[in-house]
């Protein structure tokens, strides 16, 4: 089975976000980039699926040269080869998905994995758009996956529970935390990844459908009152919640 896994190069979740001078993006200085945490679950599931059915796992990313580090990380975990769809300018989910769908068609992949969202813009829509463009089925926020013949049975997280969803290949699956335990790249894997090919090509040129007018920090919350250091403060707390905040 030809499997694609789409990965995104994002600021580490420990990053303190500083707004850039253009007031439309973040200040990149001193920011460490990592593989999007949800994409690690996607890579792991792609590798497990390959182990079960055979085939090849190709890692695809849309972005600038630095995205190669993230592709390399997936290769070190065990993916076979990488493709960087190069574009230095910012893209929204629609133009990322269009570039991905275009390449997935070239690669003839019948199963596509990606994280349920990237932890930068938190859109959580790229998988669905990609599937629509390809005419594939799509199941999002997946925490359990079984594939048999052409049939897929997946569990997706919803409010207050899970939906068990049945579908068929070809398909796009977006991975949620809990789907699996991503493997660590072994030293051997890291060495092998250095020799694996990352093909570079220009990303399909399309227009963004959204435009960011301004990026800003949320209004800072000012620290409140410390009411005490033991259970004698409880009565005052309950009174404040009831009478001042009126939330209970």
């Amino acid at each position: 089975m030809n499997i694609a896994v789409c990965v995104s190069h994002v600021p580490d979740t420990a990053t303190r976000i500083v707004i850039g001078k253009d007031e439309k993006s973040i200040d990149q200085s001193g920011v460490t980039y990592i593989i999007n945490p949800y994409d690690e679950f996607a890579v792991e599931e792609a590798l497990k699926t390959k182990e079960q059915f055979g085939g090849e796992v190709v890692v695809i990313s849309v972005g600038s040269d630095s995205s190669k580090e993230t592709i390399r990380k997936a290769l070190a975990m065990g993916a076979d080869r990488g493709i960087l769809l190069k574009d230095d300018s910012p893209r929204d989910s629609f133009s990322v998905a269009k570039a991905l769908a275009d390449e997935i068609k070239n690669q003839n992949c019948e199963l596509v994995f990606m994280g349920k969202q990237s932890v930068d813009f938190d859109n959580s829509i790229t998988g669905q758009i990609t599937s629509e463009l390809l005419g594939y089925s799509c199941i999002t926020i997946v925490v359990d996956l079984k594939i048999e013949n052409n049939k897929i049975i997946a569990e997706r997280e919803i409010e207050g529970g899970k939906e068990v969803v049945e579908s068929e290949l070809p398909a796009v699956i977006t991975a949620q935390k809990g789907l699996n335990e991503p493997r660590y790249a072994s030293l051997k894997g890291i060495m092998a990844a250095k020799k694996k090919v990352i093909e570079e090509k220009p990303a399909l040129q399309v227009d963004n459908l959204t435009e960011i007018l301004k990026m800003k920090k949320p209004a800072p919350k000012s620290p409140g009152r410390i009411l005490g250091s033991d259970s004698t403060a409880v009565s005052e707390l309950v009174k404040l919640l009831h009478e001042e905040a009126k939330v209970i």
Binding site: T13, S131, E132, V165, T210, E211, K221
Partner: protein, 323 residues
Amino acid sequence: MPNKILGILEQREGKLKKVSFEVLSVVSNLASRLNLEPEAIIVGNEIENLDEALNYGVGKIFHLKNENLANYSPSGYADVISEQAKELNTNYLVFPNTALGRDLAPRISVRLNGGCIVDCISYEISNGEVIATRPVYAGKALIDVKLKSDIKIITIRPNVFKPQKKEKSSTASIIVKDIQSPNLKTRTIEIKKSEGKLDVAEADIIVSGGRGLKGPENFYLVENLAESLGAAVGASRAVVDAGWRPHNEQVGQTGKTVSPSLYIACGISGAIQHLAGMSSSKYIVAINKDKEAPIFNIADYGIAGDVLEILPKLTEEIKQIKS
């Protein structure tokens, strides 16, 4: 004839969800400010409280009905909603930002050749255009964003916009359309409910526990407090990664971003990823031994003490005030 704005309502087990009334209120508000005709779509089988939806200032509500669409089917719902939206020649669509709405909105966007903005928490109108504000980086920053496409789709975060009843419009009516053989290529075959639990993504009050609880065996203290308040139980990433709690309870950057009226953080020091996910809560209470913990920087009220000692007392006093 004015152009249209459509609200996509959501039902679960044949009952409209609260967020549906929030969607209707946003649709009605945008309709009057942009001079659009407000209408709505609901997909499902029998829906017991659908009449209530007529009280929020929206005209026709199209009930796209089939027994096989009682539960969510991405393929079936996307087909019938996009066809109905095309037939009505709509310009704007508003979805709830739920597991269902967030799954559907981008699919419908592609089919209608439109764009979408998800997780909107406020909006303004400027030169006849909607400028939406939404959190990014799990709430560490906000963006003001607009759509450049002709067809515009937004999803709104639950619990943020107030449902507002209005006088019934003269065109208010429910139009039932029976759907013949829906596309069930991708469909729900079973729903596994978490036993009697409220979900952090939907709750108005959340009680979250962290490492300060010392072990999973003490989490019942958090559960008891949550129960006394009718609240959902949340957890920090540390205790989820340690296997104390399931990941669907995790609040923060690789968990859920929440904005309840009241968030009680118990034994949580407040890593930056956690603060990002909950700092937009209306009121925050922190209970933590270390008075230097970052959680106190954003808490409205704090007790710098032992969570194991404080929680039983707090639960007891809340039960008293509730009774």
